[in-house]
Symmetry: C2
Subunit: 205 residues, 2 copies
């Protein structure tokens, strides 16, 4: 891309291009679009971005994003408080909430164990999960559902958490994996189809 006519524009483009999946060309498009907007609305956008870092909390219990100290899910009396679903990140909570099939609570780890990326046990909310199970605070836990990704890192984290939870006699389960609803068997990968067969369930009439 060419030299821009202005250092201020160049800085804005460089900054916008740090967003994931945004190249210099899109960044320039965004910058020129912002130039065409009034100062107030550009300030609104900029403030909303800064407030993400200054005003947004993590729920004290489940570490999901929240505007309050305790998130609405943990605070809701309508949820099954004995059920805790362990997920990697906030997006996973949203995905599961979208199904409207889950009525328990969550525990957001903030990642999975990955020595290559330098993410160890202490970078994740694992101790706080064990604490929830061990102390029954804020609520007694009957079952922990491991919903981490099916990668080597996810499997390692599952294994590690399961071992830590053993002493407390809590039920530990994991998500069913298999061929997606509507997908044809012909095009499913072998591992997924194999899981579907191994984990077959009683036919419901």
């Amino acid at each position: 891309m060419t030299d821009l006519p202005s250092k201020i524009l160049q800085t804005a483009v460089d900054q916008l291009a740090t967003l994931p999946g945004v190249g210099k060309r899109s960044a320039l498009r965004y910058a020129l679009f912002l130039l065409g907007r009034d100062e107030g609305s550009v300030r609104d956008l900029a403030d909303a971005m800064v407030r993400l870092k200054t005003d947004l909390h993590r729920c004290r219990h489940c570490h999901n994003l929240s505007d309050t100290e305790i998130c609405p899910i943990c605070a809701s009396e309508k949820r099954q408080r004995g059920l805790v679903c362990v997920v990697e990140n906030v997006q996973d909570v949203m995905a599961i909430e979208n199904t409207q099939q889950y009525r328990g609570l969550y525990h957001v780890l903030g990642g999975v164990i990955s020595p290559i990326d330098g993410i160890g046990v202490h970078d994740l909310e694992i101790a706080s999960l064990v604490d929830r199970v061990a102390t029954g605070n804020p609520y007694a836990v009957d079952e922990v559902i491991l919903a981490l990704p099916t990668t080597m890192e996810g499997d390692t984290t599952n294994y590690y958490i399961n071992r830590l939870l053993q002493p407390y006699g809590v039920r530990v389960t994991t998500l069913a994996r298999g061929v997606a609803v509507g997908d044809s068997l012909e095009y499913a990968d072998e591992i997924t189809l194999g899981r579907s067969i191994a984990n077959r369930i009683p036919f419901e009439q």
Copy 2:
């Protein structure tokens, strides 16, 4: 998309989704990415955006973006100051500068006449262009190159400017249009190919 767990996040997503070509899903991706960055770098990005509106100037002569009152192109003694290329916007200046073939100055109109979009003559830098030609201030103008888009609006604006410039005896030219270098004639549209034939030039040996 699902309800987000936080109004602050929701506001940031809504704001980011006002950028051109950015949907709610990309906006959420940007917001979560910003969440993972440190506050300082998010502030840097936000500030760079606001500075576009507060610190960026338009060159007093050509109305191109500039950090200074007179842009580097207008200020440069190496440019042909008698030659003024009229373009729709800042992106067009960058595109022409990229060719490294043009050594004259520019005049950025800030759009083209478009009654449907409510853009009239007085919303554009047309009077200031006529003024440049009429007064020879800052520099005497020998030739005005019209490089506006080949749309009805662009053609209308070309026609209007040409008429305004007639009294001053300045040479008015327009960009050559034709089949792009490397394109085969077979796939060129008829109007473009027709222009290439009509505007044929002496063969250079």
